[in-house]
């Protein structure tokens, strides 16, 4: 059997037999503690600057951003964005109770259904899990409430992200997942799929020159909900009042 052939080939090459039990225990310990390596200093910032870095990096990678003061402002932001892009006010909405609870009826022109995306869906509204400030990257773990097709099939993807979900590095994103996610099948924290998304789809296959909109969404728009008082800068015009902004 090839499994044995490959394992024996490895051991022959490394000039040893199977690893002794204590060595295996040491390696299992490394897996269990999964130590972090060097974390780039660029994202180790106070909360308001960390959020600002995230937004700056999203725009650097050709994504667009709007910041709203509370979840109630999301339907209006979606409607205005679609109108500004000259897109029909129709979309597929991620089947997430949190998204559904938003006051969509305040914008009666909006037409939407809930579920996974099909080939005919031109716009999706997804909810982000975490945003990584280091590179302006969204972490979108698959879940019944967060279908993967929403990130892939539509021309335009709008992602609603809470400011409290912005972290410094990818390791912080995985820590959130380790703490908050339980997989129904394995009992572990890894869902079937995790997409890290940095800006809209692109290709440089023609003469090494960048063109946006290869196979995935041509536009990636992030609506950031300021739910985290600590993340709001004093000069932010939409800042809700009454928070301690120190």
């Amino acid at each position: 059997m090839s499994k044995e052939a490959i394992l024996n080939g490895i051991r022959r090459g490394l000039k040893r037999g199977p690893l002794p039990a204590d060595q295996q225990a040491m390696l299992a310990g490394r897996l269990a503690s999964h130590p972090r390596h060097l974390q780039p200093a660029r994202a180790q910032l106070p909360r308001p600057q960390q959020v600002a870095l995230f937004l700056r990096n999203v725009e650097k990678e050709f994504g667009t951003v709007e910041r709203v003061p509370h979840a109630g402002a999301v339907p209006g932001a979606v409607a205005d964005y679609l109108a500004a892009q000259n897109l029909a006010p129709k979309f597929v909405l991620a089947p997430s109770p949190e998204l559904w609870a938003m006051p969509w009826s305040e914008r009666p022109m909006l037409e939407f259904h809930s579920g996974r995306a099909e080939a005919t869906d031109l716009v999706s509204v997804q909810h982000g899990f975490v945003g990584v400030a280091e590179t302006g990257t969204l972490m979108l773990p698959a879940a019944p409430t967060r279908p993967t097709t929403l990130n892939l099939l539509p021309d335009t993807e709008i992602v609603v992200l809470k400011a409290s979900g912005i972290v410094a590095g990818y390791e912080d994103a995985f820590d959130r997942l380790r703490a908050e996610n339980q997989d129904a099948l394995t009992g572990g924290f890894m869902p079937r799929n995790i997409m890290f998304v940095t800006g809209p789809s692109r290709s440089a296959d023609i003469e090494q020159t960048l063109e946006l909109g290869a196979h995935g969404p041509r536009r990636l728009h992030i609506i950031l909900v300021d739910d985290d008082p600590a993340a709001i800068q004093a000069e932010h015009p939409d800042a809700p009042h009454g928070f301690d902004q120190g």
């Binding site: 022959r12 490394l14 490394r30 780039p40 097709t149 390791e171 296959d205 023609i206 909109g213």
Partner: protein
């Protein structure tokens, strides 16, 4: 496996240098990757430290490869997936075919994968009546042209915009003949709309894997287009092809490697899509594949462990070495004659197919050392090419003239007095022949050299006599 044409390197290179289309494409592309990488690296002060960490992670993994592969496999199975261990290319091809047949597959979409090129998956599927559809933009046009990639991350590196337009007009006959291609974007848009239906119709999706994670049993792909994600999300079956050295222990280890990969490859801080796949669609999920297979391939890699080529297994296929190689930059990827071009190919190809089948590939280098200096995991590529040259010589694979010249040189080198005398006479003679001109435009027995450039004429004395003089002067001070 793809046929090895590496022994034809010299002839291929001469042809490549005379190919105006190729030279135009290389000229357009040259520099783009270099500048982008340099900017990305400059923007991350920790980059050098991350390289050391990356090297150490890979070394640690290779030293315990059996443990990490078994852990990986156990975790794939825990998530409802299946791991197929394949020693040879043939075994891997048969495994992929059997999976496709088990679901009655007619068409298979594919994400860009170099291991798929190495194994010859497409030909095998086609031969058995299954249609593979390449979905990466670069791979797609190569499939239309029936060509192989000339670069490991930018497969159509050798093509110009005019080639794309001509091929799309020739082969997309379902579209109006008078459509216009004013911009590159028009080409991208046409490929997007043409491939959309193929994504939706495919029964199986095949991707490669940039990394495998032992801790979680995940396969990771890194793309910009989103084609790899559509490939692994829409069909009922996802097959991830991966060679055994792709495994890293934990997600944290993968994070470090990912910080190196995109910067070294395209000069991006992070690629657009970095996706971790772990097992099958969960009961409540609305999308995703029902079957998840990992085809784990050796195909010669275990033979590299414990040899002077073990460090080559650290390679993460970023292509920084070829992007910075003056030889690759002059002749492009096809001249190298097999799947992997550039410096990494000159080391890996002999390791995988045998030095007796690759001709003088390890000699396709100026030994400038740029490849090693940009390698994200610090693989000593020039040193390894030198090891291959030694093996070539030991096994009498080098040409007769080169061997007799080396023997002649060795005769003198072993006799320092004679060597010094001979070089002094030789240099003196050349100096006289040059008659005050700085260089030779032509020289008997050195036509190969002077055809492309002048040979500088020696000016004065040998190194040894200059050195001795300087030492004496120092002693007097």
């Amino acid at each position: 496996m793809q046929t090895v044409h590496s022994p034809d390197f010299k002839r291929n290179a001469a042809r490549a240098l005379a190919d105006t289309g190729l030279q135009k494409a290389l000229g357009t592309a040259k520099g783009a990757f270099l500048v982008r990488r340099a900017n990305a690296v400059a923007a991350l002060p920790e980059f050098e430290q991350l390289r050391d960490i990356g090297r150490d992670i890979k070394n640690h993994t290779l030293a315990n490869l059996d443990f990490y592969l078994e852990t990986f496999a156990a975790n794939v199975e825990r998530a409802g997936g299946k791991v197929h261990w394949c020693s040879t290319a043939e075994e891997a091809r048969e495994t992929v075919l059997a999976i496709c047949r088990s679901v009655g597959a007619k068409t298979v979409t594919k994400g860009k994968s170099m291991i798929s090129e190495e194994l010859g998956i497409n030909d095998h599927l086609e031969h058995h009546g299954i249609t593979p559809v390449e979905t990466d933009l670069g791979e797609y046009i190569l499939q239309l042209r029936q060509e192989t990639p000339s670069h490991i991350i930018a497969p159509a590196f050798h093509l110009n915009r005019e080639d794309w337009e001509a091929d799309f007009r020739r082969l997309h006959t379902h579209l109006p003949k008078d459509r216009v291609f004013n911009e590159r974007a028009d080409i991208v848009a046409e490929a997007r709309s043409t491939l959309r239906d193929r994504f939706l119709a495919a029964d199986v999706g095949i991707t490669g894997a940039n990394f495998l994670i032992a801790e979680t049993g995940s396969s990771v792909i890194v793309t910009n287009e989103g084609n790899g994600d559509l490939t692994q999300t829409l069909p009922k079956v996802h097959i991830a092809l991966a060679s055994i050295e792709k495994v890293v222990p934990t997600l944290e280890d993968a994070c470090n490697m990912l910080r190196l990969l995109a910067r070294s490859a395209t000069g991006q801080d992070f690629s657009v899509y970095t996706t971790f796949s772990t097992g099958v669609r969960r009961a409540e999920d609305l999308d995703g594949p029902e079957q998840y297979h990992v085809v784990l391939v050796d195909n010669g890699r275990t033979n590299m462990l414990g040899t002077e080529f073990q460090e080559m297994l650290r390679c993460i296929r970023c292509a920084a070495c070829m992007n910075h190689c003056p030889v690759y930059g002059a002749v492009g990827g096809h001249a190298y004659g097999w799947v992997y071009p550039g410096p990494m190919g000159s080391v890996l190809t002999p390791s995988l197919v045998g030095i007796d089948k690759t001709g003088l590939l390890p000699n396709a280098s100026t030994f400038c050392g740029k490849c090693e200096s940009v390698c994200p995991v610090k693989i000593p590529l020039p040193k390894m090419m030198r090891h291959w040259r030694e093996r070539e010589f030991e096994r009498h694979l080098t040409p007769g003239t080169q061997r007799s010249n080396l023997r002649l040189w060795a005769y003198f080198a072993k006799r320092p007095g004679l060597y010094r005398l001979a070089t002094r006479l030789g240099i003196g003679a050349l100096h006289l022949l040059a008659r005050g001109k700085g260089a030779f435009a032509s020289l008997p027995l050195a036509g190969g050299w002077t055809a492309g450039r002048d040979l500088p004429a020696p000016q004065g004395e040998t190194f040894m006599s200059a050195y001795t003089k300087a030492q004496r002067a120092k002693a007097r001070r």
